[in-house]
């Protein structure tokens, strides 16, 4: 045998050695992350922003109708509009970045925790309350929490009395009307910011790494989406369940720490937030289905996706199993609430640990170096 030839063969074999394990596995390299981002933007985020705008507009009209003519019927209509506006807003809150963050929609519409004393201070003031002046009020004196306080804090007769005959009746009507109009305006800005024909944040997400002015790389956008999932589930666990349960207060229940305490919408709020997370993960919102984070995860590991599905279902089921209102449950059924808290925590852990590791996502944003 020609020794030179044999050495060349040996070198060639050595050079190809690294590829041996690669060839032995099924390739799954073709997942289009930009297609996923486009689908999430167009099928989930933008529709949710539009739903927020529509429902806030309806709430604004109902609130104004009640303020103009306080009566049992208009109060009921305003309360219904308030409840109807919660689900779109909480679902959209699962993606708290982008326009939701830059337009400071949360502080404009949905500041949490709410502060009824702050609303009373606004009512006790003397400055005229208009849609424009609401902008200068504190985040805890406007938006849906303030409207909730005005509409739900007392029973129907007392609310009607406060809006018609009380010492602050006129200012209550002004604040309700102005808060509704302000929230509707800001929600409209949110929808416009996502709209491809206007602010085009949906397009920025879809074009990540391909000419997007917001996302220099696709990876930055995928990291953002996954971090939104983690942040939303974490806030559900820590603030929406853990805080009322007294997890940070030595185990003493804190029923006043629930979200939407006057309307007792805490659990529907929580379910809506988790639905929003699930929509971002699956890419499916109501009748619309498309690519979601799930498809990216599946492309790497169907097993991890199966774990996420199991955890999601368990968390949603555990939240659904909380009886009555959350305010009552943290006192009377703390074990049920604790079970829900643990299930939501497990869901968050699966996204933060399994999904993030599988996708090479940097959890929390930092541009610091690594090695």
């Amino acid at each position: 045998m020609n020794p030179l030839l044999s050495r060349r063969r040996l070198l060639a074999a050595l050079a190809l050695l690294p590829l041996a394990p690669a060839c032995s596995e099924t390739p799954a390299d073709t997942f289009d992350r930009n297609a996923m981002l486009a689908a999430l933007a167009d099928n989930v985020c933008a529709p949710l922003a539009r739903a927020v705008a529509d429902s806030q507009r309806a709430l604004s009209l109902a609130a104004a109708a009640f303020a103009d003519a306080p009566a049992a019927a208009t109060l009921t209509a305003a309360r219904t509009a308030w409840r109807d506006a919660r689900r779109p807003l909480k679902r959209a809150s699962a993606f708290a970045a982008g326009p939701m963050e830059t337009l400071r929609v949360r502080s404009a519409i949905d500041w949490f925790p709410s502060d009824d004393a702050a609303v009373e201070r606004a009512l006790a003031g003397s400055e005229p309350i208009t849609a424009a002046s609401v902008d200068t009020l504190g985040a805890n004196q406007r938006g849906m929490p303030a409207m909730e306080y005005l509409l739900f804090a007392a029973d129907e007769p007392a609310t009607l009395a406060a809006f018609t005959a009380g010492p602050t009746a006129a200012r209550r009507r002004d604040l309700l009307r102005a808060a509704g109009a302000y929230a509707a305006t800001r929600a409209g800005e949110l929808a416009a910011a996502w709209d491809r024909a206007m602010g085009d944040y949906a397009g920025q997400l879809a074009r990540a790494g391909r000419g997007s002015a917001v996302f220099p790389t696709t990876r930055a956008a995928v990291d953002l989406v996954v971090n939104q999932l983690i942040g939303a589930v974490d806030s559900a666990a820590a603030m929406r369940l853990g805080a009322p349960l007294g997890a940070s207060d030595g185990g003493a229940p804190q029923p006043d720490a629930v979200e939407s305490p006057f309307s007792d919408a805490s659990l529907t709020d929580l379910r809506a937030l988790l639905e929003g997370v699930d929509a971002l993960y699956t890419g499916a919102l109501d009748a619309h289905a498309g690519l979601g984070v799930r498809d990216l995860v599946r492309s790497r590991s169907p097993a991890v996706d199966a774990v996420v599905r199991t955890r999601t279902d368990a968390a949603l089921a555990a939240v659904a199993a909380i009886p009555g209102t959350l305010r009552e449950a943290v006192v009377r059924e703390p074990a049920r609430v604790l079970a829900a808290l643990e299930a939501v925590r497990a869901w968050k852990r699966t996204i933060q640990v399994d999904v993030a590791n599988l996708l090479g996502v940097t959890v929390t944003f930092t541009d610091a170096d690594g090695d």
């Binding site: 050695l17 690294p18 590829l19 394990p21 690669a22 060839c23 596995e25 390739p27 390299d29 073709t30 992350r33 930009n34 990540a208 790494g209 391909r210 790389t217 696709t218 990876r219 995928v222 974490d234 820590a238 853990g242 997890a247 940070s248 207060d249 030595g250 185990g251 003493a252 790497r300 590991s301 097993a303 991890v304 774990v307 925590r345 968050k348 852990r349 699966t350 933060q352 640990v353 399994d354 993030a356 590791n357 599988l358 996708l359 090479g360 996502v361 940097t362 959890v363 929390t364 944003f365 930092t366 541009d367 610091a368 170096d369 690594g370 090695d371």
Partner: protein, 449 residues
């Protein structure tokens, strides 16, 4: 007798005169790189984000005595580093400037373990070593100011020192890659490259399994061989082209800051010592210089001890059971460069045995987001954080609490599993160099894909 002859031969080779040009060029390039690094760090707001804003820092074992400067002093330290880097590049009081830079930089680095990076560690060591060498012999204001510092030749050992330090970095970085995950599963490169499949032109190629395997093996081979290939005149040119290609690629693909450019500049020290003279010819007249000499005995002993320590320190990982990527014992100061992708989640469960009250504490309640991310997957940081929680409760009038943790981690795509034994009260565990009995064994299973 034989030993004496060997020592004599070694001393003769160490004292052999070589051109001072490459060490002078290294100083210029290195100083400029340090300046760029300091400006970059400050301009990105990292002084504030990493060292001013955190309520708590995580000092190193044995270095808890290092004082934490206030914001003004921190900015002053970085300003001093910037000025020192300029002085290094210009060769003005260069050795003192290198020593000042090394001191300031190391002081800052010792403040917080959550900010540990291999290349920061390298900068501390390399800068301190250069401060011992005749770096002002060429291309330096020092040589103009004090002609006795100017030298056309320097002893060979002065080039051995930076070369040995670089060789150790590459060698142990290569050893760290000789693992099943790196070689047989191409992890974590596979995960990282898939996340960068949008890279212009090469993105689709990076997303292939073959690219991940080829780059994993090539990376290990590069690290293990590059110092020797750079030393050999026959292979030097292709080896340095490989250095340029390797570090340019890692610099473009990954967030590793100035490290690639530090190494691209530093590895020029492997070249023929006279290489800069092609571009900057030496003066025609010969200088009356003292003959180069081997290092003084004390310095020789000190350097020998230093390099022995540098060779042994990374090997301490073998004293600990389990994968150092999982336990992270023996992980730092061992040149585990770009070999780990790990995500974690941690929560502290606090209980007061006297009152029976219980609390849940999230890391985000007392750490910055960056710190919380790093702490979540790192056992020794979890222990320190547990002690912070314990001490905080004591300050608020609840002494003697027990602190348990729910800590989960995923390494290289494996399913998440518990990192820390949730039954162990970390408030009573001490941070020692012994293996942590409360860290669960690393997952032996293959990743879930």
């Amino acid at each position: 007798m034989e030993t004496e002859r060997l020592v004599a031969a070694l001393r003769a080779r160490a004292a052999a005169p070589v051109s001072s040009a490459s060490l002078g060029a290294l100083r210029v390039v290195y100083g400029a790189t340090l300046l760029a690094a300091v400006v970059r760090f400050a301009s990105r707001g990292w002084i504030d984000a990493l060292y001013v804003r955190p309520a708590h820092l995580f000092p190193y074992w044995g270095f808890t005595w290092v004082p934490r400067p206030g914001a003004t002093w921190l900015y002053a330290l970085f300003a001093t580093m910037g000025a020192a880097a300029v002085a290094v590049a210009l060769g003005w009081r260069a050795r003192a400037a290198l020593a000042v830079f090394a001191l300031c930089f190391t002081w800052v680095e010792l403040l917080d373990r959550t900010s540990y990076l291999n290349h920061y560690y390298f900068v501390s060591l390399f800068t301190a070593l250069l401060a011992l060498l005749p770096v002002s012999a060429r291309y330096a204001l020092d040589a103009r100011r004090d002609p006795s510092l100017a030298r056309d030749t320097i002893p060979a050992w002065t080039l051995w020192v930076p070369r040995a330090q670089l060789a150790l970095v590459y060698l142990f970085a290569g050893v760290a890659k000789l693992k099943g995950d790196w070689l047989l599963r191409a992890e974590p490169l596979r995960t990282w490259l898939l996340a960068r499949s949008d890279t212009p032109l090469v993105g689709p190629l990076l997303a292939t399994r073959e690219a991940a395997y080829a780059m994993s093996w090539a990376g290990a081979a590069f690290d293990l061989t590059i110092p020797w290939l750079l030393l050999s005149r026959r292979t030097r040119v292709p080896a340095y082209l490989a250095v340029l290609g390797f570090h340019a690629a890692t610099g473009m693909l990954f967030n590793i800051g100035m490290f690639p450019w530090v190494m691209v500049g530093a590895t020029t020290v492997f070249f023929d010592p006279a290489w800069p003279e092609r571009f900057f010819p030496p003066r025609a007249e010969r200088r009356d210089e003292p003959a180069p000499a081997p290092p003084a005995r004390a310095l020789a002993v000190g350097l020998a001890a230093y390099f022995a320590l540098q060779a042994l320190l990374p090997l301490r990982m073998y004293l600990y059971p389990g994968d150092p990527c999982w336990t992270e014992q023996g992980f730092r100061f061992a040149w585990h460069v770009m070999v780990m992708e790990k995500a974690g989640d941690v929560r502290f469960r606090v209980s007061d045995p006297r009152s029976g009250r219980r609390w849940s504490v999230e890391p985000g309640e007392f750490l910055t987001a960056t710190q919380a991310r790093v702490v979540a997957g790192t056992p020794d940081l979890i222990l320190t954080a547990a002690h912070m929680v314990r001490d905080d409760f004591a300050r608020r009038g609840v002494p003697g609490v027990r602190v348990y943790v729910d800590a989960w981690a995923s390494l290289h795509g494996r399913p998440a599993r518990r990192l820390v034994d949730p039954r162990v009260d970390l408030a009573r565990e001490e941070d020692t160099l012994r293996p942590y009995r409360w860290v669960y064994p690393d997952p032996a299973t293959a990743p879930a894909y």
